[in-house]
């Protein structure tokens, strides 16, 4: 199905949708644009690149897995019963205005949390209830490299609706039933009288042209394994890294988490919160031993995880080329340079 919507009706659309769905969109927060739950008093910005990725919608920075409560048996004080409550979120959700690379990010999550092996109920439930509306990325940034890792700025894979901006309209193409349902909203009109499929195609092609292929991912998983023990390479490549968690937290595919119990006096929550393999605590063992105590080991793991382990195990590159980790890195550490160095 193909429809169109004038730019000035997008807000109406979002207000409509937020009646039926939980809507996530890139909203302005302070000076930054982040993905957050949409409310009509929030300013949506579909032009810029958001700092955070949309993974927050399906993989919140923290979520309660269970609520626990210890209760005493009044007849025998030494007996205690434990009540556990687990709430899984079934809210119908629309993620609106993502870049195609972000939408692809969930493929990695799907493999890990909703694949053939383990099924993570918290993620999977939300994923199934979610529709994604992406926007063709007409002006990629200097840090973008989606085409290098198999994506495209006009990629429709993983989206339910793809919007492409042409003059004062977004042209909307649906790619699934969920998408078609969304396009039934009255703010969309049928494309007659001005639809120019050619024009949309041209915009998409131009966007692709704007991006260089930085390196070839052919056989990269084995190249990485081969260079694994070349500590000097990794040390040199990562000496400026600060071990902060920005790259992993803004990354649309990083899915690691930490589990902690947060409670007072026998009552509380078991939460999971984002964790970052860049933190030394990430692999610290109870004995005090840390297999990845040094930052080059941690960074090496991050690269290997994305470009080797996931490829070997799940046949997917765990990087969508959104470039956030480069853009927001405090020391402008460039993942492309590091991977290129491996290939060379």
């Amino acid at each position: 199905m193909i429809k169109k919507i004038p730019l000035n009706k997008v807000k109406n659309l979002l207000d409509d949708l937020s009646g039926d769905y939980k809507v996530f969109a890139p909203v302005k927060n302070g000076r930054s644009i982040i993905f957050d739950e949409y409310r009509s008093d929030k300013e949506v910005n579909l032009e810029k690149f958001s700092v955070t990725s949309i993974k927050e919608a399906l993989f919140p920075s923290h979520e309660a897995m269970i609520k626990y409560d210890y209760k005493k048996d009044p007849s025998d004080l030494s007996k205690t019963s434990l009540s556990l409550k687990s709430e899984v979120n079934f809210d119908k959700t629309v993620i609106f205005g993502v870049h195609p690379c972000d939408a692809r990010g969930f493929f990695t999550f799907d493999k890990v949390y909703a694949g053939n092996g383990y099924r993570d109920v918290y993620y999977k439930t939300k994923r199934d209830a979610t529709a994604i509306v992406a926007i063709t990325c007409a002006n990629p940034l200097a840090t973008c490299f989606c085409t290098t890792v198999g994506g495209s700025p006009a990629d429709s894979e993983g989206t339910d609706v793809l919007l492409t901006k042409v003059d004062e309209f977004y042209y909307a193409e649906s790619y699934s039933e969920k998408g078609e349902l969304l396009l039934k909203n009255s703010n969309f009109s049928s494309p007659q009288g001005g639809v120019d499929n050619e024009q949309v195609l041209k915009i998409k092609e131009e966007a692709v042209q704007k991006l260089d292929k930085n390196f070839s991912t052919e056989g990269i998983e084995n190249k990485l394994l081969k260079i694994f023990s070349d500590s000097d390479y990794w040390k040199n490549a990562t000496s400026k890294c600060l071990s902060c968690g920005i790259c992993t937290y803004v990354c649309p595919t990083c899915y690691c988490f930490n589990i902690t119990d947060e409670g007072v006096m026998g009552r509380g929550e078991r939460i999971r919160s984002w964790d970052s393999c860049m933190f030394p605590l990430f692999t610290l063992e109870a004995s005090g031993h840390n297999p990845r105590a040094r930052k080059f080991e941690r960074y090496r793991n991050r690269i290997n995880h994305k470009f080797s382990y996931l490829v070997i195990r799940n046949n997917i590159i765990g990087c969508v080329g959104c470039g956030r980790c480069i853009r927001h890195c405090p020391v402008s550490l460039d993942i492309r340079e590091v991977v290129k160095g491996v290939i060379d």
Partner: protein, 322 residues
């Protein structure tokens, strides 16, 4: 000879003495120079020096006593490019005996100014930057989409606009001529103004700011004074100071105690603020503390190596505590 050429020559001169020298090289665009570790002579030509070279390399100085993070080996000797503001961080760390003077060589860079990308972004869409040229007190900025002339004073870091110490206070070699300091008058203007607003406004302001914090700890990792590394109480489970949740209140509490750990130690280098991916004005919090420390103890951190940080000492009769 311009400062960069002198620097390159000096790096070449000291390179045999050290394992490497930390300077700046080009990053993914002209606005984002990146720390550059020079260990071979051929790398020297990649060094750059411009109004975007901002990182505080004091952060890379090794804590030689305990190195769980394994940044450097204890026996490594390094050289590093140090601006006036960065030199205060080094003095602070020396004062705390966290680093030792004989393990590094300071190439002191007198510094005219640095451009605050957050301010620049308000003026022009820097995602598509093409060129940036300074002439006099203005800058010609060109992006893919537009071209603008911007007054430099509008886009400098606050710390540069009121820079009292543009020349390093401690160095082994001074690279080029010293530059004139600016007046400190007005440095605390934003803090003063914030103090005047109502408490409700303060609460709602911080609530909005910390709402978007992603708890990535970049502020901490970029801070030269935050050297607790993985013992930071933000993540330790015992003592359980703080929940691992990303509720706004927890994120605010984290920043409050990180700030307070820096009371009397912070040199207003602004790295925490700069690195924050979601633009939380952390330096305003830090400036509040430096302002109070100045008022109460007449003390500026990182200026005199011989002094004791004010919260590590006391007077029987305090001058400004009644």
């Amino acid at each position: 000879m311009d400062r960069l050429d002198i620097l390159k020559e000096k790096v070449k001169e000291i390179l045999p003495e050290v394992d490497f020298v930390i300077g700046y090289s080009k990053g993914f665009d002209i606005l984002h120079p990146s720390p550059y570790f020079v260990s071979e002579e051929r790398q020297i030509r990649n060094l750059i020096w411009d109004e975007f070279c901002i990182n505080n390399f004091a952060n890379y100085l090794p804590p030689p006593k305990r190195v769980p993070n394994g940044l450097f080996k204890q026996d490594e000797k390094i050289g590093l490019v140090v601006k006036g503001c960065d030199s205060r961080s080094i003095i602070q760390l020396l004062q705390e005996e966290i680093i030792f003077r004989d393990t590094f060589i300071i190439l002191g860079m007198p510094c005219e100014m640095k451009i605050d990308l957050k301010k620049l972004r308000e003026k022009i869409d820097i995602d598509y930057i093409q060129s940036f040229n300074v002439s006099g007190d203005k800058a010609e900025v060109k992006t893919l989409l537009e071209k603008k002339t911007i007054n430099l004073d509008e886009i400098l870091y606050d710390k540069c606009l009121y820079c009292k110490y543009p020349n390093p206070l401690i160095y082994d070699y001074l690279i080029g001529d010293k530059v004139n300091p600016r007046s400190r008058e007005g440095f605390y203007k934003d803090v003063d103004e914030f103090e005047m607003i109502s408490n409700e406004e303060k609460i709602s302001c911080w609530e909005k700011e910390f709402d978007r914090c992603i708890r990535c700890y970049a502020c901490r990792e970029a801070c030269p004074n935050c050297y607790c590394q993985y013992q930071c109480i933000a993540q330790t489970r015992r003592p359980h100071w703080i929940s691992q949740s990303t509720e706004t209140i927890d994120k605010k509490f984290f920043q409050m105690f990180r700030a307070f750990h820096n009371a009397g130690r912070c040199t207003d280098c602004g790295e925490c603020d700069r690195v924050c991916p979601v633009g939380i004005p952390i330096s305003k919090i830090m400036k509040k503390l430096t302002k109070e420390v100045l008022r109460l103890f007449n003390y500026e951190a990182g200026v005199d190596e011989k002094l004791i940080p004010p919260l590590m000492t006391y007077k029987r009769e305090e001058d400004n505590i009644g």
